[in-house]
Symmetry: C2
Amino acid sequence: MARKKRTYFFGPEGAEGDAGMKNLLGGKGANLAEMCNLNINVPPGFTITTETCVDYFNTSNNWPGGLNREIYTNLSRLEKETGKKFGGEQDPLLLSVRSGARASMPGMMDTVLNLGLNDLSIKGLTEKSNNEWFAQDSYRRFIMMFSDVVLGINRSEFENAIDIEKKRTGVTSDADLSIASLKSLVSKFKSITKKNTGNDFPQDPKKQLHLSISAVFTSWFNKRAKEYRRLYDIPDSWGTAVNVQSMVFGNMGEGSGTGVAFTRDPCTGKRDFFGEFLFNAQGEDVVAGIRTPLSIDEMGKRIPKARKELDRTYNKLEKHYRDMLDIEFTVENGKLFMLQTRVGKRTAEAAVRIAVEMVEEKMISRQEALNRVHPEQLDQLLHETIDPTAKLDVLTKGLPASPGAGVGMVVFTAEEAIEKAAIGGKLILVRKETSPEDIGGMNAAQGILTATGGMTSHAAVVARGMGKCCVAGAAGLKISHKNGLFTVGETAIHRGDWITLDGSTGRVIKGKAPLVKPKLSKAFRTLMSWADKVRKLKVRTNADTPHDSKIARKFGAEGIGLCRTEHMFFDSDRIVAMREMILANNKAERGEALEKLLPIQKNDFMGIFRAMEGLPVTVRLLDPPLHEFLPKNNDDYAVLAKDLGISVTDLKFRADSLEEFNPMLGHRGCRLGMTFPDIYAMQTRAIIEAACELTKSGTKVIPEIMIPLVGHYQELKVARENVVAVANTIIAKYGIKLKYSVGSMIELPRAAITADKIADYSDFFSFGTNDLTQTTFGISRDDSGKFLPFYVENEIFSDDPFVTIDSDGVGALIQIGIEKGRSTKPKLKVGICGEHGGEPKSVQFCHELGFDYVSCSPYRIPVARLAAAQAAVAKQKPKSLTPKKGKKSSI
Amino acid sequence: MARKKRTYFFGPEGAEGDAGMKNLLGGKGANLAEMCNLNINVPPGFTITTETCVDYFNTSNNWPGGLNREIYTNLSRLEKETGKKFGGEQDPLLLSVRSGARASMPGMMDTVLNLGLNDLSIKGLTEKSNNEWFAQDSYRRFIMMFSDVVLGINRSEFENAIDIEKKRTGVTSDADLSIASLKSLVSKFKSITKKNTGNDFPQDPKKQLHLSISAVFTSWFNKRAKEYRRLYDIPDSWGTAVNVQSMVFGNMGEGSGTGVAFTRDPCTGKRDFFGEFLFNAQGEDVVAGIRTPLSIDEMGKRIPKARKELDRTYNKLEKHYRDMLDIEFTVENGKLFMLQTRVGKRTAEAAVRIAVEMVEEKMISRQEALNRVHPEQLDQLLHETIDPTAKLDVLTKGLPASPGAGVGMVVFTAEEAIEKAAIGGKLILVRKETSPEDIGGMNAAQGILTATGGMTSHAAVVARGMGKCCVAGAAGLKISHKNGLFTVGETAIHRGDWITLDGSTGRVIKGKAPLVKPKLSKAFRTLMSWADKVRKLKVRTNADTPHDSKIARKFGAEGIGLCRTEHMFFDSDRIVAMREMILANNKAERGEALEKLLPIQKNDFMGIFRAMEGLPVTVRLLDPPLHEFLPKNNDDYAVLAKDLGISVTDLKFRADSLEEFNPMLGHRGCRLGMTFPDIYAMQTRAIIEAACELTKSGTKVIPEIMIPLVGHYQELKVARENVVAVANTIIAKYGIKLKYSVGSMIELPRAAITADKIADYSDFFSFGTNDLTQTTFGISRDDSGKFLPFYVENEIFSDDPFVTIDSDGVGALIQIGIEKGRSTKPKLKVGICGEHGGEPKSVQFCHELGFDYVSCSPYRIPVARLAAAQAAVAKQKPKSLTPKKGKKSSI
């Protein structure tokens, strides 16, 4: 068997690797090779493969076989190309050793610069450069960096020594330290090392190199790298490559320097070169923020030749990579060297603009443009956000439950929010957690802050549905209703005090932070129009009111996938009738209450149907357990008891009988439709009467009636028969033609498993993935806070299944459900109406499984439209994502 | 297309049908035909098929085409065979019209006798019989029966008329009424009919017949027939056959009479002919209990010839049908006519004895014998029962939650039960519902009575596990703790009053009812030994204590399939340590509490392992949510707070943080094992240390450690690694060899769907069908009381899925789980440990799916053993169940 090739050389003569070999060489290594191949001036070096790193871990950190031999071969070649000698006394070859994983993980892993210096080679460097300051500066940098990264000595010991030296000599900038000071620091640094390790600072350059490579490998598993990977879904198994490269020096005086730049503006996307530069400095100085960098224009003024070369280079690179790039470079005595290039990170606004403009510039195709924007990013564009330049007094951080920003005065009850909003107040509703009764108050507020609850808590879900910002589960928060305040640590915020919420980051900010308005640019509209042309999935919305329906339509909704009738019942003008209904002692009492609710519901449906004229509207019949509607306090009980003409004690007794041990699995959904068929009959009447009246006046209405929580086809059969009987009688009475359909939620494992039988009675399926996830996992969302975060953190679950569809389990059930359903009815319409309907990975999954549509909250619609387009494009042409040269993957 | 044959003639010349045609002719019709074919004297007649009945219903009660023609053809033939004329003035042919479904539904549907009488034919009957009393007696019977069954007039009007006439003439028995009285009654009956219907009593015999047949069809859907079918799982779709048969008369004087008999004693199974006879009477008189029937021996004394013929006949029939039979016959002027034969119903004791003795008599095979006993019946044999001859004062009826009987004094708290039992008291624990804390009290009591909760409530499940009788959900019961009593209607039962529970019927009885001991007969042991030889499924037990383990082993348990460790924690000597553990604020505090629990658990395991020496014992690690163990009252909180050295307020605050919205889907099962690995580590230590110590002293122990509520293979992987690490360390320390295995509960849909991955880390699967049913259906058992009874009653569900495995949904998931699991590990051991493990239909299902074992509560083990044998036999030889003649099905 051929021995594994462990290293890839790159240099002015060209490289062994290229940009397509990112998996093996890491992003940095692959792009260094690519630049060499493009004849761009890159200091020569070699890349140790990611495979080698993986081998290193798999053999309990043993040095991989064959690696040393290849390193020494490459070192010889480097010495030949540079004419320098590693550890040499005359003209020493110095190296940088840098990590570089497949995916960019900026600053997460370790780097060693100026490697190869020791008490002998420092002399050679001094002589050769004829710049003692530079040589000593490099040496003190090297000892400090090596000690920190490789030997694990706390940086601060070295930084303290520098500070003392600066104070002692009265200078403020490192660059102003005298040669004597630098020499003294070198000597002090060595003794710090000796004190900490018991040994002298290692003088053997090969040993230095060996130790540094090991340290870079090991840094793959440092805490911050692991955390970063978890956040960005990067597998631990990838490992990092290591780039060993000959040093060039930005710290050789005022004709030297180092810089970073973006080929276009990463905030706005404007086609402006955008960068920063430091004279007489090494790479880490820019990042470390020790000195304030200069604008890139300054570079042009002082070293115009290098600047011109830089412009030529970045243009060449951008054309080659066909994307906005983030570059790093060093100028050594006027000569430009490129040290890194990669695709640049950018804001949502910039991503959209760059993608669209690059199509206009004929650099990329429309399909590529669609893939250049992460759907999740679009969320940023739709909400007011806090001015990024503002100074903020952050009180605490909760979960970024619903994006956008809100500024308002603190209130603690929904009633107060409604009351104060009615007279023009701006309010933030602060609750331990919200309940359906709070909806009015949430709607009236600028934002919602809760002390408990997660990303899928009531507050979070409802707020996202409203497009209202929400910070949930702000654990530091202690609410005292009695004293009308909440505290965070020592700080108390009183009722009426101003705070600002940042729903995109979870920050809770004291006072009024300045906000910036969202702008839906022309580029945004262009991109979305391209998305709509290619996607196969329709995108509907979850909307319960005419208001939400209108917003959703503006964002491109192609109908309503889920209209939750129960949300209509919480308004104060109707909750009493609802309570009368659920606490009715017999059919007659219930009938009376239902008669009161009928005109209210009908009116709601008329508004929604009007807003969605010509588009389908799926109405889900009553779903939640009845006790959700129960009075919450004694006053409410008193009012209701009077209404019903019974005693409060009797009323509470009735209410108690509705309590359940596991309401999620209790008497709800179509189970209510079975035991109280008159409720569903009333709702059907409201829907169909509304539809008939609008149809009569020329408005096109497409009602779809959906039965929730079906587990057995018999339930659907009975419910459907009731609905059809009521509907057909009404339609006949109006004497018009009205098409309506009756379908089933598929949100229980049993429904998926027996979908062939359920399809017999179903015109459509809508997968309720919230409940399906709960029952498939046997996990209550509301109670998952005690273990689910632990699970995700410890990688027991790769994702929170309430955020991203669990494809192996829930997804497999969905697949069974669709296959079985379509085995009965090949053209069965299939949609999804859980929270997942607006989450890009889940949208992709729905596309793959052959869904007809997804449905999501109004503000998620653009996200879903783009995700659907990307899913469709992915199937069409994976090849269009490669760089011109035709290699597999770019950058 | 050939026309459907709607009627089948039978008579002395033989019959068109036979016993194999039960589906078409109903049980009665098929057996009448079979008896004719055996040359047994049966009055001729014909059977209208069940298909015809179904057609009648399917065409909205239209008279099926071709039926009249066939009826009239058969009537002509009857007239020819009997020499009588239907409606004739000389020698009228009278008919009986009787229902007869596939399955016996005794007394559920309607019958009309003496049909064909009218004002003309009564004269012919009088002349021909030369017995005016008989003729008038028959006429008044006919009018009354026809009016009741066909015209829907309340029987009591007629019965009142008889009573008045008897009083007026001073007689006590119907048989003593004078001819004049009978004539007067006939006339009175006619006017009752006219008053009620507005018409004269129908005189046209054909119209009488037509109406009677319709009435019998229609009676298929009367309320009691529907209820009976629901109880006995008989489909509505079957319909009933109708038997139209020429009348013979037991009411022609003292040489006539009518009787019913069993070929063996239906109570004990002894081979004694067992019957009752009434002279000068018609069939319904025996059943109606108007006159007290005589022993069958009296018949032999008075009409010995007929009696001899009867003995010959029943012996012939029993040999032919090879089973104990229930027969009906009439003697008309000394001549024996058989009117019905069918397999006789019998007690469990009789069923076992008859089956075993018939094998000894070489009438049937062992396999047939196994099929002759319904597994569910065996339950009767294992518990004390109420003396069936005792007079009882029944207070109310609840659900028969756990069989057997219990006599004791009423107590309302578990504490009192324990206290009083300790000094020898016999007690019945009466609770609204029980909780895990009541277990000690339940164990101390003779029986448990609850006011709420169903067949699968805590009380029911635990009581069955203990083999303790329980009546659950006695809805009429109102408990007043304050007054120390409960009331049922007007009756109050005080603390200390004696009551008796009948857990087999659900009766709650005032006072001490006399009980009879169970006897496990030799026949029972013989039958069980045959069962054990043929069954493929192993039968294990669910047992949590050494005591239960011993009982289970006595009943034939082949190991423990489920040992619930949490039940061990509720005893008063350990609950405090348990509470300290769950309310611990940190790992150290928890560690201290766990150290206290370790020796207790270890001791329990030693007892259980000893009881199960040489057999596998599956121990499930902690499963329930921690809040189940929380203190229930302020005293307990006070004690605990002192123990923990914190304030009661702080303690309650900690306790509150454990509350959950849906505890069933909350922080429980292996989720506890993930977040508190030290709990599982302690339990593993207790199990393995106990096993090691016993192994060292020569006791063979086979521990199997089971991880509950696994949803994702990662959970099992982590839990398994922890268990194995702890176990191997201990085994190494003891320096012995001990084999143990680690397996997974499969009780969540996701576990079944991803079983291939879970099997990678699992030595065995145990399907927890209680939780799997809850999650697959999305139904909480505890909350299902509001709709599940409605569902079963209205046939939305054919069975309660918590009693019988839902094969279409839950069963399909189990099948997927087994197939996927064995695709990874072909020899994976698979068991079931839900309540279903002791339910015959579910046991059969487990056999078909290839399970290795079922596990059930100790007292269900014989049931499971027999059910497993029947499942195995069913696969082997379906043919062995037919009568000698070789027809498809017998009776």
